[in-house]
Amino acid sequence: MDLTVEWGQVHALLGENGAGKSTLMNVVYGLIRADSGEMRFDGAQVQVHSPQDAIGLGIGMVHQHFMLIPPLTVADNVILGQETARAAGVIDGRASRRTVRELSHRYGLQVDPDARVQDLSVGVQQRVEILKALYRGARLLILDEPTSVLTPQETEGLFQIVRGLTAEGSAVIFITHKLGEVMSVADRITVMRRGKVVASTTPAESSPADLARLMVGRPVLLRVDKGPAQPGLPLLQVDELSVLDDRRQLAVDGLSLEVRAGEILGLAGVEGNGQVELVEAIAGLRPTRSGRVTLCDREVTAASPRRRLRAGLGHIPADRHRMGVILELPISDNLVLGDFDRPPFARGIVRLLAQVRDHAAQLIKSFDVRAEGPQQVAGALSGGNQQKVVVARELSNGPRVLMAAQPTRGVDVGSIEFIHRQIVEQRDAGLAVLLVSSELDEVLSLADRVAVIYRGQIAAVLEGDEIDRDRIGLLMAGAKTDEVAATGEGG
């Protein structure tokens, strides 16, 4: 495949998960060796065997997961590895602070050089990462899925920084799978599918629908078709729930919410605001400190995961590989993880494997899982198909409440469409759906009501016309409801 990036441009690299975007950029940055082909930088052929080579050329990369040392200050993190030292290896703190201040001023990246990274928000930490790259003399900056952890406002801030950089003559490669971002920030767009470039275009020459079609290889429905919700009785109630995280800090802080039959409640929020702990507490995987969880009028606060399953809870876990599927087991076994010891899948302690296989064959068909057959191991499937296995299993248990956490993370567009349609169908069939997602677009297109979580509490629950991207963005960033109402009117 071919890719040419020009100076002074934002070049968006668009593709689904697994299209090869990150692999390609890891080659450019020297983390992976290419099997064949050559790379030219500034017209000259170059060999990049390590990130050191790349940095030497002026290539910088900001990874999806930040590579910062939380207890150190911004300045220390920026200069780390390339310190200006005085005699005897003593770091020149003043010089490094000055350099950082100059850099941040020049590119409009407001950061306090003396702040500790652990005290900064994710958006600001990202700025530190960019500063780090610039400090090392980067003229070509690679941003790998930079907006996945940002609020809409922070995303807009990042776009401004990116435009500032290209105005200075640098080049930026912007890796993403979000169409809206591409349209608003890119000068050129390269679309990848299955390791190949399928199109090279500009925002002016294309539309989101075109790009989606190129990415997936067929026309895609960008909007989810759904009628108005007809909510019934509340099926899932969370009252004053408090939950600790793994470091024994309060992650969910007296949170209350309610999901009614026949509606989708979307839980929006920046990652790390207690979503994971809330979901685990509702699923029975994490002990609660106080409060109550009620499922279909039964209190289940202290019940085992199995009792909740039987009480009607379906759970699509956020981390598919860790909690959703057992990669080494066949699809058929994965589809009965919750039911393997009950009829018709077992008689006494003997498993009835023929029934398990038939069941799997049926679900593979009705959930359109692309697999060789029921006996194929789950690990051999693509992310999207693995997720379909999880969705199929959780829905085939006949739940009355469905808790879907990041249901389309790492899933291809085709499968996203399918999973979204399933969720809406289940809502129409009378299920109460709690959708937890850090993709705001997903929440906006699916949810009937939106609850915004901030620091373990529900900042606000929005309904109908109140559901507005800017307003949610501000709430995600910690603004109070009344402030938001004021700005909301204006926007």
Binding site: M1, D2, L3, T4, V5, E6, W7, G8, G20, T23, L24, V27, V28, I32, A34, D35, S36, G37, E38, M39, R40, F41, D42, G43, I59, L140, G169, A171, G195, A283, L285, S304, P305, R306, R308, L309, H315, P317, R322, M323, G324, V325, I326, L327, E328, L329, D333, L337, G338, F340, D341, A346, I349, V350, R351, L353, R393
Partner: protein, 353 residues
């Protein structure tokens, strides 16, 4: 791969023998004669393999749940204690009752003793490797006490040992003019039984699910804690069965130091079999035959019987570390994911236009 590991094991041990100045070929010849061709050698090899089958299954079952039962040796002792006690203390029962009773006592003692570290792990998070090692020492001291000074000692004997078990509790000989006992049949039955348990029952499914991905198992409602206790009890029960079987089938009494490290060899057996119940059979036979042939080899060539420990250790190392084997054999692993860049123009950033 296991065959390569065994071969490498013999090569490494052979080098060690050569370094000590002995002839490795002669040593291996002696080992082979002692294990197979001498009078009674083959049946004795089979007899020596029986405990390895039960113990190998015990360790392998633990492995399937992701648990490392190093305590098989201690559970073996407890099983032997249970078996020997029922064997000598109850009189007047017919064999068809006495034998099963003694065996069940052995299984029960081993299961409780194995279940204990399972419980400690499930309840308090105590790592089973640590607790089972410590429980081994407790088992050794316990049997030492019971047999030397305690209620299980033989009052009519000057040497510390338990009384002989009643003839009604002895496992019958199944092959005339040999010591080959019913335990071999039990071992041959245990293999398919454990295979069925693991591969075809809901209990086995729980065990495998917990072993492969405890988080996923837990989130779909499998109780990881209960499964851990259960699997350790099954593992301990099998080890206990091995102990009872040795007492009832071979020695008919129990001295204070009864095991010769069977429970540790069993780890190698399980690794060699890759925790597959069917694989336990040939692996156990290899270890039993080596154990049986080593004595004759020492007599014949003056090469220490401990030489087989070198073979075993090397086998464990190579089985547990397939990476080393691949490296040694220059077997390059095919990369799982290889990037294809087809056109020679490649990737590049062109100068500003």
């Amino acid at each position: 791969m296991p065959l390569v590991a065994i071969l490498l094991g013999f090569v490494v041990a052979g080098v060690a023998v050569a370094i000590t100045g002995a002839d490795p070929i002669q040593a291996y010849l002696g080992l082979f004669q002692g294990a197979f061709t001498n009078k009674h050698a083959f049946t004795e090899s089979l007899i020596a393999s029986v405990p390895y089958v039960f113990l190998g299954l015990a360790v392998a079952t633990g492995f399937r749940a992701g648990l490392f039962n190093i305590g098989a040796d201690g559970q073996f002792y407890l099983g032997a204690l249970g078996g020997v006690f029922v064997g000598f203390s109850i009189h007047g029962l017919p064999g068809v009752v006495h034998i099963p009773l003694a065996i069940l006592a052995g299984i029960a003692c081993g299961a409780v003793y194995g279940g204990l570290p399972g419980f400690l792990k499930a309840r308090f998070g105590a790592h089973e490797v640590i607790t089972t090692i410590m429980l081994n020492y407790i088992a050794y001291s316990l049997s030492d006490y019971l047999i030397n000074r305690g209620p299980l000692g033989d009052p009519h004997s000057s040497a510390p040992k338990t009384p002989f078990i009643d003839p009604s509790a002895q496992l019958p000989i199944i092959f005339a003019d040999s010591r080959l006992h019913l335990g071999l049949v039990l071992a041959l039955l245990a293999v398919p039984l454990i295979w069925f348990l693991i591969e075809r029952t809901t209990i086995g499914f729980r065990i495998r699910a917990v072993g492969l991905n405890p988080e996923a198992a837990r989130s779909s409602g499998i109780s990881v804690a209960r499964t851990m206790v259960l699997v350790m009890a099954i593992s301990g029960g099998l080890a206990g069965l091995a102990g009872a079987d040795e007492v009832l089938g071979v020695s008919h009494f129990m001295p204070p130091s009864f095991s010769i490290g069977y429970g540790f060899d069993a780890i190698a057996v399980a690794l060699l079999a890759r925790s597959n119940p069917w694989g336990i059979l040939p692996a156990a036979f290899l270890f039993g035959a080596m154990r049986n042939g080593a004595g004759f080899m020492q007599l014949q060539t003056q090469v220490s019987a401990d030489m087989i420990s070198i073979v075993q250790a090397t086998v464990i190392m190579f089985v547990a570390a397939p990476v080393i084997v691949r490296w040694l054999l220059r077997l390059r692993e095919v990369p799982a994911e290889s990037l294809q860049i087809t056109q020679p123009e490649g990737v590049g950033a062109a100068p500003k236009t």
